[in-house]
């Protein structure tokens, strides 16, 4: 078979995308854990380590641009590389959500409000969805990718549950509004992370079919409130 160099380099980039994905998964799980345990040193580390995620994303982007410039990928190869540019962007933004959670974990150290139990489940669900979405992505399985977005409903349900709970705290005791608002932010970041998994699944379908299409989820596209610094 010809084009061994191109094939080898594409596989290498795919591996790097998976590595980036696992960095993001770990960051989010650890950020929620740091919040739960009110572990400020861990939160500081997660906050700082987001720069590794950003660096990895730029390195992959650069490698993809070089491959497009030098190897003239066509058809499926081209779709795969274009899709990976999109996927690493999604992963970096998820990394920012984890960083945002870590930032909040630093801020509410010592505060009185409980950390909602739903956060752990939401993080776990979002990370599992991401993991399977990336697995479907590298195996180019459109069928599996298509099945993942509907799982977002579970995350949305938990989000609505935790939202009502936090609003109730605010109403019951307006002194907690600052703190409660930060917790709302955590819920939002977790919910958005799961939303963005859908974008990765859309790119998998694009690689296989060549069609760019939005996958239906019940979620409304609310404005980003995530941490961007």
């Amino acid at each position: 078979m010809t084009r061994e160099a191109l094939t080898r380099q594409i596989h290498h980039i795919q591996d790097e995308v998976l590595l980036l994905g696992s960095m993001v998964e770990q960051a989010m799980l650890q950020a929620v854990q740091a919040l739960r345990n009110r572990d400020v040193p861990a939160a500081n580390r997660i906050y700082r380590d987001d720069s590794y995620i950003n660096d990895k994303r730029y390195a992959i982007e650069n490698a993809i641009l070089i491959l497009i410039a030098t190897q003239q990928p066509m058809a499926r190869d081209l779709r795969l590389l274009a899709a990976m540019l999109e996927v690493i962007n999604e992963l970096e933004r998820m990394g920012d959500y984890a960083k945002g959670v870590a930032k909040i974990a630093r801020k509410i150290d010592g505060e009185d409000l409980p950390i909602p139990a739903e956060f752990d489940r939401m993080a776990q669900l979002a990370v599992e969805m991401l993991h399977r979405a990336l697995s479907a992505f590298v195996r180019e399985s459109a069928a599996e990718a298509s099945s993942i977005p509907r799982e977002d409903d579970q995350v949305d349900a938990l989000y609505n549950q935790v939202y009502r709970q936090i609003v109730n705290w605010m109403i019951a005791n307006p002194n907690t509004i600052d703190h409660a608002n930060l917790l709302m932010w955590v819920a939002h970041n977790l919910e958005r992370m799961a939303d963005r998994v859908t974008n990765i699944c859309e790119r998998t379908v694009f690689i296989v079919t060549g069609e760019l299409m939005e996958m239906d989820t019940t979620d409304d596209e609310d404005a980003d409130l995530d941490d961007e610094d």
């Binding site: 010809t2 084009r3 061994e4 160099a5 641009l65 070089i66 410039a69 030098t70």
Partner: protein, 260 residues
């Protein structure tokens, strides 16, 4: 001793080349990395074929030509008076634009160069090894006595590469080796070049910049000076850099198709 001081496969120093009184190439300074693929690109008339032919004294065969400057191979100027050009061409082989097998059997095409060089080892082994290295053995092993001219264009070109390999060169010069081949045969040659670069230094002239981008590690961009029409080296660097972020505006214009 010399090996240690001169780590480059070739070092080109202040090289000018003349056809009669016309200076076709001027002031070339270039270090060729060993066991890498270096591509020479540029528009028609920029002197790229002339330059590659300077690297194994192939231009000596054209009357009225002259070279100044130096081309160092293991630190030794290949244009020094005591250097045998035939020996240079054995160590620095060449593959041409149009496949040019001899009108003999496949076997004889490969064995010929080694035989006239006084090879005394096992010729069958050498032929098999050379054809294998050129990724042709599996296709021809049962028809070694058939005429080389019966092979396809892509196979003929790989046979010419096997023929060049059989005399154990260090450097292989390729002057537009794929311009007469179809796209699949072209990609096969490119994959072969990548395999060969583990052991050999390869320098390829190509008018196909996509090929340079795909197949090379380093790229040298030549153009023609508009005042005296002499070819000159504009930019030389890693292929990835040349094709994503060239430093010279002339390189940028050429590789983005905005030349002329």
């Amino acid at each position: 001793m010399m090996e240690r001081e001169h780590t480059m496969a070739l070092e080109v120093r202040e090289m000018d080349f003349y056809y009669g009184s016309f200076r076709a190439v001027k002031n070339v300074n270039l270090d060729i990395e060993p066991r890498k693929i270096t591509a020479i690109i540029g528009p028609s008339g920029c002197g790229k074929s002339t330059v590659i032919r300077c690297f194994n004294r192939m231009n000596d065969l054209i009357p009225g030509t002259r070279l100044t400057g130096e081309v160092l191979f293991h630190g030794q100027n290949i244009y020094a008076t005591d250097v045998d050009p035939v020996q240079i061409r054995r160590l620095i082989g060449m593959v041409f634009q149009k496949p040019n097998p001899f009108p003999k059997s496949i076997y004889e095409n490969v064995a010929w160069g080694a035989r006239i060089n006084g090879f005394t080892g096992n010729m069958d082994d050498l032929v098999e090894e050379s054809l294998s290295q050129a990724a042709l053995w599996d296709e021809v092993k049962d028809s070694l006595s058939k005429s080389a001219l019966a092979l396809s264009g892509g196979q003929q070109q790989r046979l010419c590469i096997a023929r060049a390999l059989a005399v154990k060169p260090e450097i292989i010069l390729m002057d537009e080796p794929c311009s007469a081949l179809d796209p699949i045969a072209t990609l096969k040659i490119e994959d072969l070049m990548r395999e060969l670069s583990v052991h050999y230094t390869i320098i390829i002239v190509t008018h196909n910049m996509q090929q340079a981008a795909r197949a090379s590690d380093y790229t040298a961009f030549f153009t023609m000076d508009t005042t005296d029409r002499a070819g000159l080296l504009v930019e030389y660097g890693e292929t990835n850099q040349i094709f994503t972020n060239p430093k010279d505006q002339r390189t940028e214009d050429y590789i983005t198709g905005r030349f002329g």
